[in-house]
């Protein structure tokens, strides 16, 4: 490295050091712990155990159950729910009058701004046995039930849709706003209906935004913890125990930090797989 580039590198050095110290450092430390049998308590010394934690995970029914639930939760709430609903809201709001737009936007964004735990409590109150949803169903003379007990994973998925849709809506509002008016108008003159314009013009033009949005949504959803913890604590049994909750239980309730960290690394892997798939899609289609 010559003198000039050294001088050039100087201004970024503090940032680099901070990144290494506070981001790469903990991650590397975690990766190391995942290969030990470190416990929070109940053990005097920890030792290196190689791939033991990962072997345990793949033989652990609860872990496999958590992987499955994480996939269900992500597909239902992020891919289908937040993404589609966000796009639909953004499209509808383009046509709506200003007061409707402000009101809808306000409500959706409020859900997003609320802290995760507060949102969790609100939805717990909504879904619980004596909750708002059942009160509404009673009014309509429909059968009520304890949703958090009968359909826990769907209830928490709905909660995540409720909370996270605003993000997609904002992304898509921006994307739709950038489509030149002339193109849509030309299509309209050519006689294309609403659905055809959506399918042939709008979607292809915002494909990049769809990709980015899907990726961010998915990664955010994979790490949701507080919402599920407050609503169901992963229960009943382990019927809504996604990977972050499983990891918490192993690391902090059963004190097995090593095993918990190994699970965290596996979660990181799941996230990477999703990311790679999205990046692939983006590259081939644009």
């Amino acid at each position: 490295m010559n003198r000039r580039s050294l001088v050039r590198a100087l201004p970024v050095t503090p940032a680099l050091v901070l990144l290494l110290l506070f981001l790469a450092g903990p991650i590397a430390y975690c990766a190391y712990i995942a290969f030990t049998d470190l416990q929070l308590t109940g053990q005097a010394e920890s030792s290196f155990v190689g791939f033991e934690n990962f072997r345990t995970a793949f033989q652990d029914e609860q872990f496999l159950n958590a992987v499955w639930l994480t996939l269900v939760f992500t597909v239902v709430s992020s891919l289908i729910g937040q993404n589609t609903l966000g796009l639909a809201l953004a499209a509808l709001m383009q046509r709506a009058s200003k007061p409707v737009r402000t009101l809808t936007g306000g409500i959706v964004i409020t859900a997003w701004v609320l802290p995760e735990v507060v949102a969790g409590f609100l939805l717990y109150a909504f879904f619980r046995k004596e909750g708002t949803l059942n009160a509404l169903l009673d009014l309509l003379h429909l059968p009520s039930q304890n949703w958090l007990f009968t359909l826990p994973i769907l209830a928490v998925s709905f909660a995540n849709v409720w909370r996270g849709t605003a993000f997609s809506m904002l992304v898509y509002t921006a994307a739709l706003g950038e489509i030149p008016k002339e193109i849509t108008e030309a299509a309209e003159v050519d006689g294309a209906g609403g659905w055809r314009r959506m399918w042939h013009i709008t979607l292809p033009m915002i494909r990049r935004s769809i990709g980015t949005n899907l990726m961010l949504n998915t990664l955010q959803t994979l790490s949701v913890f507080g919402l599920i913890w407050v609503m169901t604590r992963g229960g009943p049994g382990d019927k809504s125990q996604t990977l972050p909750l499983f990891m918490y239980e192993q690391a902090f309730q059963n004190s097995m930090i090593g095993y918990g960290t190994a699970v965290a690394l596996l979660l990181l892997l799941v996230g990477s797989v999703f990311s790679v798939v999205y990046m692939r899609l983006l590259r081939t289609e644009v």
């Binding site: 506070f22 308590t41 229960g235």
Partner: protein, 452 residues
């Protein structure tokens, strides 16, 4: 670009860092005249029983020891997170306080980790230690025979029943069942004659956590011929008849719909529902629960219910068939312990001694609805009269059991909760649930198991 999920990793560590960073600001060891005391602060802002008590002791201590200072380090967290934070603090000399409040549930685990200091040398020179009853002295005794903590009280468990519901059901107002069957029969009678109330609550399943294992399952198991742990063989017990019988009891309660609706029983907030809603509103016939319930109903607690003592009756939990000694109770409680890495252990023990003068100990038991583990306090009429029910629960101390709180216990407890949950929902049969428990037990205890 996997940016977000990595956030999970740092967040794991963030907890660790936050705990150390928060406490590191005044690392112990810096000042030999200051004793740092960590304790669990209630997450409910309206409850500051412990804060007030410790502030009072701090004042006494500083007055009696000129030049010495007490720094209180509250940790505001629910139980399970309190343990985690504490354990992280105890790992390093930079963050370890001089005195910590330890649950007997985890103390052995922390002793095995080398987090705590044996207190035998101090206890030998402390005459008040002889005032502590023997079972309580054993609460913080490790497998190595040394004692690592001074208990500041205990708790016992029994049956709370609603006299109003009993009258409607035609059951006696001074009810005392002699066997499990009599408990179930009373619940069946209530179900038949007072159909709009929950007859009997037994905590169950993972959402209730340790309450399910201790208030629920172990109150049953320790009334059979069997136990969780064989002290002479130093091994955990698998495949016992008592275990299956206890599970059958739980199954019966929920299959016959004598308990709360299963979805309510498995609500993570079930304890709050029972104490704050079902009991005060007269919607629960019998509740198998702990001695501390009135703490929630005291003036200033936010849910005052001073009439409870005339509305509720108390009965011992009977043994399975009424076999000797006829009644069962489990006990836990908290102890004051000195971290192995404490900078000022001598000063810390002096602080314990100030807390445990007879007058201060008594003040504490009364303030927190605690049950005395000191015979001199228990014998004091002022203590017995301080609160209705206190005599009932103090008398149980003589026939109570402590959990085998060895390092594997938290995992064993989870396995019990899972077995209970299976039979509660009806997803697994009693035999199957017991078999699953045996498997989990072997895993949790590294095969330190004997088959019955």
């Amino acid at each position: 670009m996997p940016v977000r999920p990595t956030a999970v990793l740092p967040s794991l560590l963030a907890t660790a860092l936050a705990a150390s960073a928060l406490t590191a600001c005044g690392g112990s060891g810096s000042d030999p005249d200051t004793v740092k005391v960590s304790f669990k602060q209630s997450t409910d802002n309206s409850i500051h029983v412990m804060d007030d008590y410790l502030a009072d002791i701090k004042k006494q201590f500083e007055k009696a020891n000129p030049g010495k200072k007490v720094e209180l380090v509250p940790i505001k967290a629910p139980d399970s997170e309190y343990y985690t934070k504490l354990q992280q603090m105890l790992r390093s000399a930079k963050t370890a306080p001089d005195l910590v409040y330890e649950d007997t549930f985890l103390i052995n685990s922390d002793i095995t980790s080398g987090y705590l200091k044996p207190l035998d040398a101090y206890l030998a020179k402390w005459p008040d230690w002889n005032r502590f009853i023997d079972t309580a002295k054993a609460a913080a005794k490790a497998e190595d025979g040394k004692t690592y903590g001074v208990p500041d009280g205990t708790d016992t468990r029994g049956l709370w029943y609603d006299k109003g519901i009993f009258a409607k059901a035609g059951l006696p107002s001074d009810w005392q069942p002699k066997t499990w069957d009599e408990v179930l029969d009373a619940a069946r009678t209530i179900k038949r004659r007072v159909p709009d109330v929950t007859p009997l609550n037994v905590y169950t399943g993972k959402p209730a956590g340790e309450a399910a294992a201790m208030q629920g399952f172990e109150m049953l198991l320790y009334g059979t011929e069997d136990r969780l742990y064989d002290d002479s063989a130093k091994k955990w017990i698998a495949g016992s008849q008592g275990f299956e019988d206890s599970l059958s009891f739980v199954e019966t309660v929920y299959r016959e719909k004598l308990g709360p609706d299963v979805s309510t029983a498995l609500d993570p907030n079930i304890q709050t529902i029972v104490r704050g809603d079902l009991l005060p509103k007269g919607k629960l016939g019998i509740d198998l629960d702990g001695s501390w319930l009135p703490q929630d109903w005291l003036p200033g607690s936010g849910h005052e219910w001073p009439e409870w003592s005339s509305k509720l009756g108390l009965a011992y939990m009977p043994t399975q068939h009424g076999q000797s000694p006829g009644k069962v109770s489990m006990s836990g409680g908290w102890t004051w312990a000195v971290p192995a890495k404490a900078a000022n252990p001598d000063l810390a023990f002096d602080f314990i001694r100030t807390m445990q003068t007879k007058a201060n100990a008594q003040k504490w038991y009364v303030a927190n609805s605690g049950i005395s583990v000191r015979e001199d306090v228990a014998a004091d009429p002022a203590y017995a009269k301080a609160q209705p029910g206190i005599k009932f629960f103090t008398d149980l101390v003589a026939s109570t059991h402590y959990r085998p709180a060895y390092p594997a216990y938290p995992k064993v407890s989870t396995a019990i909760q899972e077995a209970m949950e299976g039979v509660t929902t009806g997803d697994t049969s009693v035999e199957e649930a017991a078999r699953n428990y045996d498997d989990s037990l072997k895993e949790a205890t590294n095969d330190q198991v004997i088959e019955k």
